[in-house]
Subunit: 647 residues, 2 copies
């Protein structure tokens, strides 16, 4: 047997299987035989635990006949014949006894009369005007729970009210299944434990924390092993030890077919590989196998792939362990805001945002990159495209599995268009005013924002488009592209655009002419971004050609990304706003002040949400917080530049 | 001011308000001003916690340009012009460097070529056939998270994936709102802490455990105070102390207007009562008030009323504290199996079971008694009848708020008809075979069961109806009431019916003649129960009149309830099965052996669920467990007595 790193060259197998997901799931379920142990725990601590057997009542509830009302206990026989004409008088003690709700029925008495139906004659005498039947207003023994009755079935996940019934039935403790133990082994020499400083080449290990949290939600006991470097023998030993005590072992990453992807070889050496690669996008490179009778799942390193596979395999196995049905997420029908393509044969899982625009749910796909954790944070739901489908057209109705409650989605303002930090300020202010509101912004550039408003895909769009002909911002574009549509243009901020360069401006950049000098790398914005149009305008003004700019075709989707590229040293300059340069400690050479407006749909502006947003924009707090960022002016913020009602 | 018990007489106020629920909710929300404190906690432990402010990324993820593929890093410029005819050769070190996914891009290199697209010429040389663009297959700095970006908004409940994004952005700790502290004060001199033995007059305090579990689910910190007896001063002092540290105080019970209902007076003395009584059924007697700026809720003692009010007020306030929207339960449209009446002006909340019968959801109301905890355990959902409605007819379509996931409801066999302990055995066996299945049984008597099958409201019904004319069981009734319908009758068990009497049979009961003797109290079964028909038959045979039986009109709905009444001393005898007498240590005088069958709908018998049920009935385990109960014989169990296909 070849050991550890010695195998590196020979282990380079460069293909993965394309096992259909359901087949891979079935294979592991058929292989595994869980035999959960039983724990006896206090019922009060049993919320969410799963019963190990049917639970019977040990006592009745109530355990005695009890009054169901405030009133008096009587002997029914003594009331027979009573009516308005023939009232019956009863004496305290022998004829009646006062009782409150829940009191035991005194010996010899067999009915209750409500306090409202009694005439008190004197301290010792009452009069009643109606006969009562035996057992009236009496809670008989066992009305709630009868001794010997099954209160809760076998293999049942206990809810709050179940704990009440168990305790009412005298079950102070309850036999439950021990939680399945899931060992999480993060592997990778580049990994470091979470930290607020990261050196080049280091990656924060955060997948483990996400796995642990999910497992906790599903009722398992996560056991975090700690990081193991990319060393075949060390990982193998960790797996060998883990399977002894665990019900399930998760390895992350190393599940693909690369040079340092050891998982498949280790599972092969120690046990049996059932699946290596499923026909999904993302999530393909997964290893599913058995070692010493325990399932071992090798999860991919990219967060999105890892979390999807965790759900497909670990969630399923945890429920299988308990013998519980996997709860399904709620679904909603939505209209696709953009076309989505898929390849034949692979099952596609597309993260989407959902906006509730004029009462319609509009779903828009997020990035499909498996490395973008934030896309899972931002996703409102998941669109599944079956292996046989080639995708869906814009405007098609699709079913979305929800990641966020629908009530939240209904309370979310969908903002798009150009990226600006003031949108974050606005979101915070809005939530301070009304915490039920959310503002979600995606960055598609100013032109993209105009199109989104045109198509009814967003409530608001940030725009800063300079019109050369008129020398003004935004309005000419709105009039051109949204003629006759019910929209409004609201002044948000004035902001400084300028060259973002390294501290001290080592390359001495002061104008667009400096960017064509040899050895200067530029970082551009994406097509449709107002900042890109500004750059094109600056080039044209000086008669320069975009071909002369090294890096013109490299696109960043936000001001922050431009600044990050400069800070990271892969670009010497980019065009962007002052505040991001300042936040990353970069230098800033002003180029121009531009007007950044919010374009709103008319129906949104007139809605309660729209009113709240407008009053945030016009608040002193907004001006104060935005101007503190630097490079902004809030003069005129909230002015309605243009409004056209479609009526 | 009058103190403690001295006030008892004068405190007897016998009315409650009828405040509409929404008004009562609005009043308390308008009065309360929460100002949650902030805690800094490790991000890894922050699942389900609510952020106290927007969280920004402290580092970028990745923090360096990283390879997105396994392959080689190259300089894009060196590949320009490469194609099939003009391959470019690159030397290791200067021309290319091997990298794995996630590795930093070596200095001076600016693109990645995937391993699959490389021809290895020798150990030091590769050949490529296609030019690559700069930044191909490179994850730029900040692709996932850019430093300075808002990762998670203010007042957001953290999900597993959010923890990942926070850690990826260098947030090892996170500022969250301290959980709201909710003090639970159970009051009542009759209450005892949970126990498996209960004396007469004692009631197990279990509401507190249910409140605590719900509060935990909603993200609050429950603080269990321990039982306080019905003493005005002691309860008042407990409230005074509790409000100093708590965000919310719950008192249970004493919220009505009876002699020992102190809550309203205590809140009045210490602060302000906002509402005393809401216009709901059940749940009316609630006290909502403010003491020292803290909300105090007086919850009713009956469990169902208490849990509904807890949800209406405590759940709402916990979400209000955090500034979160209250998530709504999923809903489903169902057909009402029975008529439901409501009174004008009150909002009705009816617990229902839901069966999925032949693809249709059928909702049937459970008991409306507020004291029956088990009705909350058994409920699949809640039907809300608005104050202006008088109820709904059988067959009407209604919207039900779900307590149980729809998947579980779809996997539930709905059994009704007569009550027998073997149904519990069957349920346990069924879940051992397939834990995804549930069997839910309600007790409506044999005739009720036949009607339920006739109307398509149940899958199965237990029946034991003796036909005098033929001297046989069940079949004549099926042929009479279900003529031409697609049903099947399956033999389940033979069982002994007999007189259930106190140990030693002190009243010397051996035949129906002994029941008419003076001083003998009988406990009967409800109308439509096979056991009641048997009793009527026994009376008729001996020429006795039901008027002669003291207690004939007192109805118990199950064998267990009959035995409980005898064990509790409120009846001397009842007719029932051997096993319940044995389980409560009572004596049993056999009367007859009867056949207890299961009546099934034909479509159910042919379904996978029906097949599973039938094979459980025919299993050895079933016979073994049932016969061990005593008084049963399983000869012929599973025999198809009658089957008629409707086709």
């Amino acid at each position: 047997m070849v050991e550890g790193f010695g195998r590196r060259k020979t282990m380079r197998k460069i293909y993965l299987e394309d096992t259909p997901l359901q087949d891979a799931q079935k294979k592991i379920v058929d292989s595994v035989r869980f035999s959960p142990q039983v724990e006896i725990i206090p019922t009060r601590e049993a919320l969410g635990r799963v019963t190990a057997e049917p639970i019977y009542a040990k006592v009745s509830m109530p355990n005695f006949h009890a009054s169901a009302m405030d009133g008096v206990a009587v002997k029914a026989e003594m009331t027979y014949g009573a009516d308005e004409q023939h009232p019956v008088r009863l004496k305290r003690g022998e004829g009646y006894i006062e009782v409150d709700t829940g009191d035991p029925i005194p010996d010899g008495f067999d009915a209750i009369i409500m306090i409202e139906n009694i005439h008190q004659i004197d301290d010792e005498t009452i009069e009643i005007l109606e006969a009562v039947a035996p057992w009236q207003h009496i809670r008989p023994i066992g009305e709630d729970v009868v001794v010997g009755e099954v209160i809760i079935p076998d293999r049942f996940k206990l809810r709050p009210v179940d704990l009440g019934a168990l305790l009412a039935g005298g079950n102070v403790t309850v036999p439950v299944l021990r939680k399945p133990r899931v060992v999480i082994i993060p592997t990778g020499s580049e990994l470091i434990e979470p930290s607020d400083t990261v050196a080049e080449g280091e990656i924060i290990e955060f997948n483990g924390a996400v796995f642990a949290a999910y497992l906790q939600e599903w009722g398992a006991e996560p056991i975090y092993h700690g990081i193991v470097p990319d060393d075949y023998a060390m990982i193998r030993d960790a797996v060998k030890t883990a399977v002894q005590d665990a019900d399930l072992v998760l390895l992350n990453a190393g599940s693909s077919a690369g040079r340092e992807d050891f998982t498949v070889h280790i599972v092969e050496e120690l046990g049996e590989v059932l699946t290596h690669g499923v026909a999904t996008r993302p999530g393909k490179p997964v290893v599913v196998g058995m070692v010493d009778g325990k399932p071992v799942i090798g999860l991919p390193g990219y967060p999105v792939s890892a979390y999807l596979n965790l759900e497909w395999f670990a969630r399923m196995l945890v429920h299988h362990y308990y013998g519980l049905l996997e709860p399904q997420r709620p679904r909603v029908k939505a209209t696709l805001g953009r076309r989505v393509v898929s390849v034949m044969g692979a099952e596609d899982f597309i993260r989407v945002t959902i906006g509730c625009i004029d009462g319609q749910y509009i779903a828009n796909p997020l990035t499909r990159a498996a490395g973008v954790t934030m896309s899972m944070v931002r996703a409102d739901g998941l669109l599944r495209i079956p292996p046989g489908d080639l995708g869906y057209e814009q405007g098609e109705s699709v079913e979305i599995e929800l990641y966020r409650p629908l009530e939240q989605i209904q309370n979310t303002i969908v903002a798009t268009g150009s990226h600006d930090l003031t949108m974050d300020v606005l979101h915070s202010l809005l939530r301070k005013t009304n915490p039920e509101r959310f503002l979600v912004s995606s960055h598609v550039g100013s032109m993209g924002g105009i199109l989104a408003i045109q198509k009814g895909e967003a409530h608001a769009a940030g725009v800063h488009l300079f019109d050369e002909a008129t020398g003004t911002y935004n309005l000419p574009f709105v009039q051109k592209y949204l003629r006759g549509q019910d929209v409004a243009l609201i002044q948000l901020v004035y902001r400084q655009q300028g060259w973002i360069v390294k501290p001290g401006n080592p390359k001495g950049i002061s104008s667009v002419h400096d960017l064509v000098k040899p050895g200067i790398t530029y970082i551009n914005r994406q097509r449709g971004a107002g900042t890109r149009l500004l750059f094109d305008y600056l080039l044209a003004q000086e008669g320069l050609d975009r071909e002369q700019i090294y890096g013109y075709s490299r696109e960043a989707v936000s001001h922050l990304s431009v600044a990050a590229a400069v800070a990271g040293g892969t670009a010497d300059a980019g065009l962007g706003i002052y505040s991001v340069a300042a936040s990353m400690g970069l230098d800033f050479i002003p180029v121009s002040e531009e007007r950044y407006d919010l374009l709103l749909s008319g129906s949104f502006l007139r809605s309660a949400q729209g009113e709240e947003l407008l009053s945030c924009i016009r608040s002193e707090a907004f001006a104060r917080e935005v101007e503190a960022l630097g490079g902004y002016s809030c003069r005129d913020a909230g002015k309605i530049v243009y409004a056209m009602s479609a009526d």
